[in-house]
Symmetry: C2
């Protein structure tokens, strides 16, 4: 049950531990005979020795670890995997990292715990942070000296790489589509609308589309809560208690839409006949839903892949280039929208 | 952008780097004055120095890392987060680990890559492996010398800890429930039925319940594929092409059930009126489904929590105690089952 150590290899090969280390690391300053090399490599193979990368990272400063920080909804809560967006993103990040010989160090972050100490403690080669807002202690991160990629963040800072989507444009596309289908009273349903977050951009896109069509943005048509299934159910109740005044809704996350539809079904409100919905994300849930979701498709797999590539590229080049990567969006038509004829 | 090093702290405090190290590690063999300690700690605080745990792990042999190996369905594929079971399990593992100051090293595993080298390379304090089968190179794992927890595996080996559920009993409960609701022709739909896997246990439980009720197990009523949404859709097609001979189905994973219901809806087969379904897992999807799923509830959060605790406990005690942990199951009644009166 004991781990095979470098000393065991040295003993087996009849050489010193540092000779084993020189052979395994191809240390250029040391001249070692072919015979000795062969003996060491045979001993490594025979004993099944695997070099400890933690030890190696001390000299090469390469850990082959990428830190991934995924926020919880609240401090001390579990990771947000109840939103499948995060699972799909993580899946893609892991797959891309693995293909390049990297592994992931996953952390949820607490508000009372710096991103910094987690990443620095571990000697990671880069950090991917999902969904940060300005003011969240990001300055401290700069002292890490490793590439940092912010996913879905509107923090503008040359020291960070960013990867995101055109949130405002996606919301415009969604809202315009509902208007084109005859809807005039359109709700906006989202997670919390915070400065420089994705939801405020989507809200702006919704407002833009309404205004360009000459439609008023009614405060009562705006619903804002948390990005989860439960809030969708709550939003359904609010929609009914506010008098069911809209014939359509743009919802900024599929997981909220799932809850919204469930809440409406419980009150026997039909989707799309009584409320048409354009959603956002196109997670795999969107196809499982009943009705299936007409939604703004974002390429979550590509988001994860690009995030890893940004780190690998930045780690390779010595100079610091700030990279901003914006992925395209498109509307996918399914069954959650129908035409509206205003015969009321 | 440069990382603050122990040398920077030493310079700031006017002491040697080894003195800083002694102070931070509370090295008992070294006597250091209170004044010097204070100076070092002030310098640490002023510069924002965070000790590198990789370096520390070399001496203490503690990495505070837990390796989590989540299989893909196929070599070279992405992680299985399209099955929300894995997301919920990982979420719970991460949360429990974080509460104890541990972080997770996530890896997908390839068939051409040993679990071993991943875990050994990283110097993890323990490994959690989800869903292994016997013969999958598990012997090599023993050389790691760290606690290993197999989740949902029927590998019997005193060198591993295991955590699981009573798969056979869960299947019995599900099938008995359908029989009690009047069903006589009951399908069994699952992922691949492999020796010592969870599905063969569930299949046995299904057979037990059928036999104790004097009902034959029809080979044509057994559907086996992969644990994913797509297979559920395929199973719906197979069910129809085989002549729709069952009035009920026990499905061994909620994610398959979601696909099954979708496939049936596309062919205008009503659930539960034409096919009643008892599912398995009770992932959050089960409540989102339409109809909501009557399903065997397993406590996925507890599974993750116990897996981490098994590792922490085993790492603490010097002796090796093999621990087997079996979590309870229960049926949750929702809307996917109705009574069957055999008036045909």
């Amino acid at each position: 049950m004991k781990r095979v150590s470098i000393k065991d290899v040295a003993k087996e090969a009849g050489v010193s531990a540092s000779t084993v280390s020189y052979v395994l690391n191809n240390t250029p300053t040391e001249t070692i005979s072919q015979e000795t090399k062969k003996r060491v490599l045979e001993a490594v193979s025979k004993l099944g020795y695997v070099p400890n990368l933690n030890a190696r990272s001390l000299s090469s400063r390469r850990s082959n670890l990428i830190g991934v920080l995924i926020p919880q909804t609240e401090p001390g809560k579990e990771l947000m995997f109840s939103n499948p967006f995060y699972g799909e993103l993580l899946s893609s990040i892991e797959y891309t990292a693995r293909q390049h010989g990297y592994h992931l160090l996953i952390s949820g972050t607490k508000e009372d715990q710096d991103y910094l100490s987690i990443a620095q403690n571990r000697g990671v080669d880069g950090v991917i942070i999902v969904g940060t807002y300005p003011g969240e202690n990001l300055n401290a991160l700069k002292t890490l000296g490793v590439p940092i990629v912010l996913v879905d963040s509107y923090v503008k800072d040359d020291d960070f790489h960013t990867i995101g989507i055109e949130d405002k444009e996606g919301a415009r596309i969604a809202t315009r589509y509902l208007i084109a289908r005859g809807h005039r009273h359109i709700a906006f349903i989202s997670g919390s609308i915070r400065e420089n977050g994705v939801n405020i951009k989507r809200y702006q896109g919704y407002c833009d589309a309404m205004q360009e069509a000459g439609l008023p943005v009614d405060e009562e048509a705006v619903y804002s809560g948390t990005v989860d299934y439960e809030y969708g159910i709550t939003a359904a109740d609010q929609y009914l208690s506010r008098g069911k005044k809209q014939s359509a809704a743009f919802v900024t996350a599929d997981v909220i839409t799932m809850g919204l539809i469930k809440g409406l079904q419980q009150k026997h409100v039909r989707v799309p006949e009584e409320l048409s919905i354009v959603s956002f994300d196109d997670v795999y849930l969107a196809q499982m839903a009943y009705p299936t979701l007409t939604t703004i498709h974002q390429d979550i797999g590509e988001k994860g892949k690009q995030a890893v590539h940004l780190i690998l590229d930045a780690a390779r080049s010595k100079e610091h280039h700030h990279t901003e990567c914006i992925l395209p969006l498109r509307l996918v038509e399914r069954d959650s929208v129908c035409d509206w004829r205003d015969d009321s």
